[in-house]
Point group: C2
Chain length 472, copies 2
């Protein structure tokens, strides 16, 4: 055979039956929680115009976009002349910026947020606001693949746009909590902070450096520690004194409410003006989220933490920000999100505030696997294999097969007569729990043998008894 050895692209995966079933279990839990909170499903195309995607994810993001050659038939066999017309050697020598728009106008969805914003703007005249949508679809990033980082992976987003209500933030905390609890991931921490609080920190430092530098440095605290952050801040023009003031603020202690009070006092001391929209609004917003959560009946919630060091990289957040850490697994955050005030502005619809969050299904999957939390019943598989004796009995058992399926029992007849050993092996390999056997002897007696593979137990039963057992 001179045939090729097939392979799949780096950073992509095939999901076999058992994995699909487990992933669908996670998607199902997330979907049901989203829907219970009034979020409705949206699906957008895989292909988006590059004009929609480019410039929305920063320069690094632009480089990680997968770009698709025009219409598939650019560069096609008969079009030698056309391509020469489209892209000249001069273009090529002029560099990629001249070439790209001529060869690729489409790209693969990079996240679910920008397509959502695009959808909202395109449908703004027919949508009912506030618009609450969830979206569970794959995204693509031309990142360097490594353990746990893929080029094609699913995101599960829920967002609401068209309202400033902090009820949405409170409900996001509830949705996060319900998804994790339903999945059995009870040892988790939902971290919340507010960009305004971080903004007030910046003010409290006395206006050195830039706000973005400050947020970026704080974001790395987990990874590079206090020393690393100090070093970075000094390099970026913050003074040692300012850096010290920052760490005083970052180390504020107490429970949610105590932290709010202490920061309020600290802001006053540090000369953050009471009418500073950012800082005080941040504290007020967080207080209001807490009020809503108490209204729902959640008091002194150990899984919820006001983490003033939470910064989150994405620049479009303007209000509350969230992140979830599973405490008993060594793994980055499994979910994150926040409020943004101008997501649709890039598409000509300014002033639409929204808030949303996203679950990373791959990380949730790994957590569930490591903690052995997948329910056994998750696997979608055949429940009963009918053994196939010979050409005659093969046809004779077809009415039985029909009965099983009509009773809603996923069943199959081994498709060829043959050795029982091979058929048992098939059932075993496919995790089919039961084999139903009717050889000539059983047929004469109007009975079946029902074998339970896990225990090896075999019982002689009537069809009705088999149906009752299999329906359990």
């Amino acid at each position: 055979m001179s045939a090729q050895q097939p392979s799949i692209p780096q950073g992509t995966r095939d999901f076999g039956p058992a994995v699909v079933a487990r992933r669908n279990y996670i998607f199902g839990v997330i979907r049901r929680v989203f829907e219970k909170f009034g979020y409705a499903p949206l699906e957008t195309p895989t292909l988006e115009n590059l004009s929609v995607l480019t410039g929305k994810y920063g320069e690094e993001g632009d480089q990680l976009l997968f770009k698709v050659l025009n219409s598939g038939n650019f560069l096609k066999k008969q079009k030698g002349d056309k391509i020469k017309e489209q892209v000249t050697p001069e273009d090529l020598l002029a560099g990629p910026r001249a070439v790209l728009p001529k060869v690729a106008e489409k790209g693969l969805r990079y996240d679910l947020t920008v397509p959502f914003a695009r959808y909202v703007v395109m449908n703004r005249n027919t949508l009912v606001f506030p618009f609450k949508r969830y979206q569970i679809q794959p995204v693509w990033r031309a990142d360097r693949p490594q353990r746990g980082r893929y080029r094609e992976f699913y995101q599960c987003d829920a967002d609401v746009v068209g309202t400033n209500s902090l009820l949405c933030e409170a409900e996001i905390v509830l949705m996060m909590s319900e998804v994790l609890t339903t999945l059995g991931l009870t040892d988790h921490t939902i971290k919340i902070n507010h960009r305004g609080v971080l903004g007030a920190f910046y003010k409290a430092l006395g206006g050195e450096g830039t706000e973005v530098d400050l947020f970026t440095a704080i974001d790395k605290l987990d990874k590079i520690g206090r020393e690393g952050v100090e070093k970075e801040l000094l390099e970026r023009g913050f003074s040692a004194a300012a850096t010290e003031r920052l760490f005083d603020l970052l180390s504020v202690g107490g429970d949610f409410e105590e932290k709010l009070e202490r920061l309020l006092a600290a802001f006053a001391t540090a000369g953050v003006e009471p009418d500073n929209a950012d800082g005080y609004r941040g504290l007020q917003d967080l207080q209001q989220v807490l009020t809503y959560l108490r209204g729902f009946g959640f008091e002194k919630w150990k899984n919820l933490e006001f983490d003033v060091t939470l910064a989150r990289g994405l620049s479009y957040y303007t209000g509350c920000i969230f992140e979830i850490k599973i405490n008993n697994v060594n793994m980055g955050s499994v979910s994150g999100g926040g409020r943004y005030d101008n997501l649709t502005g890039a598409f000509g619809l300014p002033g639409v505030s929204g808030v949303g969050f996203s679950f990373g299904v791959d990380r949730l999957y790994d957590c569930l696997e490591e903690l052995q939390l997948f329910p056994e019943a998750v696997a979608t598989t055949t429940r009963c294999l009918l053994a196939n004796f010979d050409a005659e009995s093969e046809v004779a058992v077809l009415p039985v097969l029909r009965r099983l399926r009509e009773a809603g029992i996923a069943s199959e007849l081994y498709p060829e007569p043959g050795k029982l050993g091979r058929q048992f092996k098939y059932a075993d390999g496919k995790d089919i729990p039961y084999v139903l056997i009717q050889g000539p002897e059983e047929r004469a007696a109007g009975r079946f043998k029902l074998k339970t593979l896990a225990t090896g137990q075999e019982q002689t039963v009537t069809l009705e008894e088999a149906l009752a057992e299999l329906a359990n």
Copy 2:
């Protein structure tokens, strides 16, 4: 605002909440039937190596492949030099064949069959054969978009490989029938034919022209009629006498079994050798499928037609072929499939026979819509909107909201206090059937107003009564 007007690429679609819910209803019906017959889910990546895709769909197919620029970062900003290294102006002038492999090594999945074959070959040492898988995923084709033809659309495939058993063919007929019947599309015809029968036709014509020309011409019978097919055959080297013999064969009448008998006689008359593997095997296979279907209890089945004019374009079919027509809607076939004997041969695993079929969800959707067959309960939406009076009552009703959700009732509180009219409009726009209202007066009385939007009916109820009504 100088912001761009966003758009989506030609031939792609956004699916809003109501459409997603209806599509998921169709997917759900198909999935449940597939699983009941022992097919297990598989998902393959959107990105496949072009070496896997190219050459599998004919020359036209190759041109319809969407190709993805290497790693996303080919043509990236800083890489001007690298691209000049990779692709020279000489390459470009030498034509697209020289350029393509240097800029694009990956493409978008074109169908679900080739990735399935690739998966089988890559996992042949761990899979349990016969391997029965289903796959419901989007595919991409750079076709010219037109009404009902998209560049991004879903396919729903079920295939079994590793057995020659015609039980699989019989069960495909059953699965087709069950999906359509469950969806309410009862007025349908499942057409079946066999490539061997068509091969025997070719033999019966006396060896003129080529087999492919014959099949291609027959395939067009529906569209261009007898005259058109005759014209095409004459142009392709078939004689008028041969063409006449063909139409004698094609016009064989009677029910399934009568057609089998008459063709058997006609083949003998026409000098098709009894040991002609194709023709006689074709009739025998179809007879065996019929035997299985009778075994299942389906006798003289009006929805099943042995259609000797069914040819199906794809060249890889070698045995039975299928197609479904919905009779009371003006629409092409909603499903098709057949047996292939060498699908995995291209990847170095010859001799693996398989059979499969595919539903086109877009056409099924259009049929259900035209015949108004979507169940009303399909829409996934909030069941109850809690009205939001003012800041005080907003917090006061949170325990009610929690109770509703804990009872599994999808519910939301309008996120801002405000005019009831606006809130009713919101419920209406989102197809929320109930609004639950507790103003200061109702709160004092420990009661609620429950309004049914469809009828405008309003009743005063306790929380328990509301829960009971909403749970229905």
